[in-house]
Amino acid sequence: MSNTASPATATAGRVPRLGGRDRESRWTPYLFIAPVALYLAVFQGYPLISEFILSFQQSSLLAPQDARFVGLRNYHDLASSSDFASVLWTTLIYTIACVVFAISLGLGAALLLDRPFRGRGLARALVTVPWAAPPVAVATIFAWMLNAQYGIFNHVLKLMDLEIGYESWLDNPKLALPAVLFTTVWQIFPFSSVVLLAALQGVSEEVREAAQMDGADRFSIFKVAVWPTIQPTVALLALFVTIWSLRRFDLIWVMTQGGPIGATKTLVIELYTRGFVARELGEAAAVGMIGLTIALVVTFVYFWYTQRTERAQGRR
């Protein structure tokens, strides 16, 4: 490392945290981040910019060298397509349902596993097993369990004598999305529960006990003592579950490939289908850009919301 920085710039400059020896220059931070910056630029930045440009082109997977610029036509085509409107609708339902069910189920599990009982450590470990299972394997096993004729789900429903009969869950346009959602929530709720369990450690015993003394019921105790503590974590979880749901591919693709008749086609499935099945790379890129815009908007809403709550709490 060069020794170009004078003592004066070192104290006033970029690396003032540690005093003492002056062997490192103000370039040290940049040397530290250079490898990762270069790496991400090649494997994330460049592909992203290519996709952005591609979204204004017509380009076929079969002859990408013949790409030509078409302006906003890909976006215009998507905006005027009713199929794409239903893709957005499916994505919206899928994402919101993932957030609501994964977090509420995760919170329920966390509350159950919070207080001490015999075997708590084991129970906490076992409840996270779905999260450790590979999504492709999860999709495979759930597709088999949901099988119309031989699946265990329908067998149990029959035993319970429900009037549902032999539903072919993944072939029925009305049932496929709920089935995929059910599978997704099974896979991801442990993540919420692990994170919320950690957040619950911050709940003040005094506030909890004071509420208990006042004869508050469980729900009031939750509202007064628990919710204010875990609320920032819930908001952060909602952000992550949203972003992950917007980009989830493997589980949905292996279960249904977006079918039947587009019933489980979220943005990423649509992107993949347009790119690799219809081989229209420009349209696929436009779909990707729209998905990315939605993710960015959600992120900004999150930051706006957390800052507003922090300010409100500061005022109190």
Binding site: R14, R21, P135, A137, T140, M145, W186
Partner: protein, 275 residues
């Protein structure tokens, strides 16, 4: 509050929760050890039948499952090693230095979480073709680690934030370079978090599907995720064979996870719950 009745209710709910969490894995094992006749019986066989263990031998013989698992292990370990190597220095820089573009770097690291693999795969394919990375496990590792490096950088930064500055200052006075400090002093202190981050990267590589499906062309370089997915909707392979592959792909991962979950949970939540 702690009446026996409410305690019993709570334990019952916990049992329901654990059964729901574990049943699909159990069912995969049961199905893999079910005879062809029983697969399609009116009353499903509810417990595994050890006499059907030969099904696994047949699965080894008839499919490339061992090769797929080996490839997945190579990709997972490679993703893990590369992610850790790349993440250490930027994590330290984000935690300890003030520099121009720090906020931008933080945002870029977060933004990578929004990019779907399926979106980047077309341009990546073109880059890979130019760099001769197409159809190589090394290329797959490079593509995967681009998604894990940001997460791991973030987690490690959280851990390094918790290391007292005084420890570093003492070493600085003794004449250690910054790199010595990072590798010799800070890293050992954050070793538990490093272990957690390694596990997260390993799982990403083990699970990954889109890149493995598109950037790998040869049969003999297939990973287990692609191998398993290739049977879905394909009717000529009996379901107990598919489930045997699923078991071999899932159970080692779950067992490994259960062994290390204590560290993973501690390391992960240390980074994520603070804010």
């Amino acid at each position: 509050m702690k009446t026996p009745a409410s305690h019993a209710l709570r334990m019952a709910l916990i049992m329901v929760l654990l059964s729901a969490a574990l049943f699909p894995i159990y069912w995969m094992v049961v199905t893999s050890l079910t005879s062809s006749a029983n697969l399609f019986a009116d009353r499903p066989q509810m417990v595994p039948d050890p006499a059907q263990a030969f099904n696994y031998a047949e699965t080894f013989a008839k499919t490339g499952v061992l090769l797929w698992l080996k490839n997945s292990a190579i990709v997972a370990i490679g993703t893990m090693v590369l992610s850790i190597l790349l993440a250490i220095l930027p994590a330290y820089a984000l935690s300890r230095f003030r520099f121009h573009g720090k906020g931008v770097l933080g945002f870029v690291l977060f933004a990578t979480q929004m990019l779907p693999e399926a979106m980047l795969v077309v341009p990546l394919y073109a880059i890979f073709a130019k760099l001769l990375l197409l159809d190589t496990l090394g290329g797959l590792i490079l593509a995967n680690a681009a998604f894990t490096v940001p997460v791991i950088t973030w987690i490690l930064k959280g851990a390094i934030d918790g290391v007292p500055l005084e420890i570093e200052e003492a070493a600085r006075i003794d004449g250690c370079s910054r790199l010595d400090i990072v590798l010799g002093i800070v890293l050992p202190i954050v070793a538990p978090t490093l272990a957690a981050a390694s596990v997260i990267a390993f799982f990403h590589g083990w699970n990954e599907y889109v890149f493995a499906q598109t950037l790998i062309l040869s049969q003999e370089l297939r990973t287990a995720s692609v191998g398993l997915a290739s049977f879905v909707g394909e009717l000529s392979t009996p379901i107990h064979t598919v489930m045997a592959i699923g078991v071999m792909y899932t159970l080692p991962a779950v067992a490994f996870y259960l062994m290390v979950q204590r560290y993973v949970v501690a390391g992960m939540t240390a980074g994520s719950v603070k804010g």
